[in-house]
Amino acid sequence: MDFDELYQEIILDHSKRPRNSGVLPPPATRGSGFNPACGDEVTVFVLQSPEGKIETISFQAQACAICTASTSLMTLQVKGTTSEQALAIQRHFIDFLTKDGPSDGLGHLRALAGVKKFPQRLKCATLGWHALETALKAGG
């Protein structure tokens, strides 16, 4: 059934028990995403090493299960990567959802494939990823 494809076990798990949930103080940088359609808001915090690697990442969300789970999975996926690598994963993930791009290398993020059948939820699945981009750019 399509619905269970959208709300896979791993999505429900991450929405109920989000990983890396919380606030990081400066010098961590932050970026927020806001969905005017539903009022959902996600803020992502990133602390980068002098070499530009994401050492610590966290987020705070007032958002639906899809958005919370996608952001939670994102934090696991991009931790330890450089800004460029993280943004490449972001593009790869968004292409996967919007352009039927390849799923290899996306790991658990593939669980969000169900969003393809629910285009009105695309914004939910990508909100945290846009917040990540803002947080990384705030870090220069």
């Binding site: 619905f3 959208l6 709300y7 109920k16 359609a37 539903c38 959902d40 639906c64 899809i66």
Partner: protein, 407 residues
């Protein structure tokens, strides 16, 4: 139950969604249309369509007659003193924007006050924010408190005494809380202080008897699509003496008496406010919808609505961890709620998979929903074609959602 007699008039309801019979509970966003409305729009385009007010040929004469008859139909429906008080707009939003621009934009001065409630739809908030900024007027709000969304109306007199309020604009029925506001009493007190009044009747026009003489408001706005009519057509009722003093909202064809290269002289109301070719089929469809509602009986619709509103709220409260918003007693057929920690979008998606159409979001009431400490709620709203077994189905599906998303 009205549904026993009238549900079959609505062809769209007879379908399955995601393998389940459709349960349409998003009526506060838009109602469905009876076959009579759909057929009349179809008939008009097949038989009578031409532009109105300017052609001299047979079709134009017929279209003009139908369009102006529709205006009279709306005037009768609202018990307005004359058809010239009825302006056709795109909907409630445009009606309120028209008043904010053509009345408030000219009349208000720096320091004047505009009084709203905290439960207004964005359509009855943002136009006032804009005009207040433009002329230097000040916005005042009657506070809404608690999950029941109470307003302390006893403050009204003192607010009107201590501030130079020029207009009081409020919703008749809250689209998120289902609360029914005492508009007649509010208009009476406002008038005592010389303030102009506007009633946002978007949620009430298709749901209860409405009499602008009894309410004694200066303006009243509603949308066709929320009362069985077409989308893209709405109404602004205005007191004739005020409309006569107002300048056009938009300008162009249809609204002038004479034009030179240097200037133009405007038609009297209502045509002064209807620049360009109007939504002729929309007005005709709306008139047919109002005929339909009167056949069903507006008091009967109101009773049916209130029954569903109260029973739905009571049954929702029986679900563990469910928070219902709006009054505990009498309410319109609207129930907003929050189920445990389940986000409204997830809940609405779940219900949709079971064929139930709900609304999830801030219902264009963002400041109010935030005041309740939320970003979004789910909302079920009922109309004359909904059945008891549809309410049973909603309750059943909410229990299932609790299990699905619960810990």
């Amino acid at each position: 139950m009205l549904a026993e007699r009238f549900r079959a008039d609505f062809p769209i309801l007879d379908q399955t969604v995601n393998g389940h019979p459709l349960v349409y509970l998003d009526n506060a966003a838009s109602t469905q249309r009876p076959a009579s409305v759909i057929n009349e729009i179809n008939r008009y385009y097949r038989e009578d369509h031409a532009n109105v007010h300017r052609g001299l040929h047979a079709l134009s004469t017929r279209a003009t007659t139908l369009y102006e008859n529709a205006r009279q139909r709306v005037a009768d429906y609202l018990n307005a003193e004359q058809a010239e008080c009825i302006i056709f707009t795109r909907g409630t939003t445009e009606s309120i924007n028209l008043v904010a621009s053509s009345w408030a934009g000219n009349e208000l001065r720096a320091g004047d006050g505009i009084l709203l409630t905290e439960m207004e739809h964005h359509a009855n908030l943002i136009p006032w924010q804009i005009v207040a900024k433009k002329v230097g007027a000040k916005l005042h709000f009657l506070p809404v408190t608690g999950d029941q969304g109470k307003i302390d109306w006893s403050q009204l007199d003192s607010i009107l005494t201590s501030h130079p309020i020029r207009i009081v604009a409020l919703t008749h029925i809250s689209n998120s809380l289902g609360r029914i506001n005492p508009v007649t009493e509010v208009c009476r007190i406002a008038r005592k202080h010389g303030a102009v009044t506007l009633v946002d009747a978007a949620q009430s026009a298709g749901h209860m008897p409405l009499d602008v003489k009894a309410i004694d408001c200066d303006f009243l706005a509603f949308s066709g699509h929320k009362c069985c009519g077409p989308t893209g057509i709405g109404v602004l009722y205005g007191r004739k003496s005020l409309l006569d003093t107002m300048t056009p909202y938009q300008t162009g064809g249809e609204m002038i008496v004479s034009v030179t290269f240097e200037g133009a002289e405007w038609k009297p109301p209502p045509h002064r406010f209807e620049a360009g070719t109007p939504h002729i089929a929309g007005a005709i469809g709306l008139a047919t919808a109002l005929d339909y509602l009167e056949r069903v009986g507006r008091s009967a619709i109101q009773e049916n609505d209130h029954y569903f509103g109260q029973v739905a709220a009571a049954r929702l409260r029986e679900i563990p961890n469910l928070r219902v918003f709006g009054p505990e007693g009498d309410r319109a057929g609207i129930a907003s709620f929050q189920l445990g920690n389940i986000h409204a979008h997830d809940l609405v998606a779940f219900a949709d998979q079971k064929g139930i159409a709900l609304r999830g979001g801030h219902h264009c009431n963002q400041p109010l929903i935030r005041k309740l400490g939320l970003r979004a709620t789910a909302r079920a709203s009922f109309y004359l074609y909904n059945t008891e077994s549809e309410l049973d189905r909603l309750i059943e599906v909410l229990h299932a959602a609790s299990k699905y998303f619960g810990d």
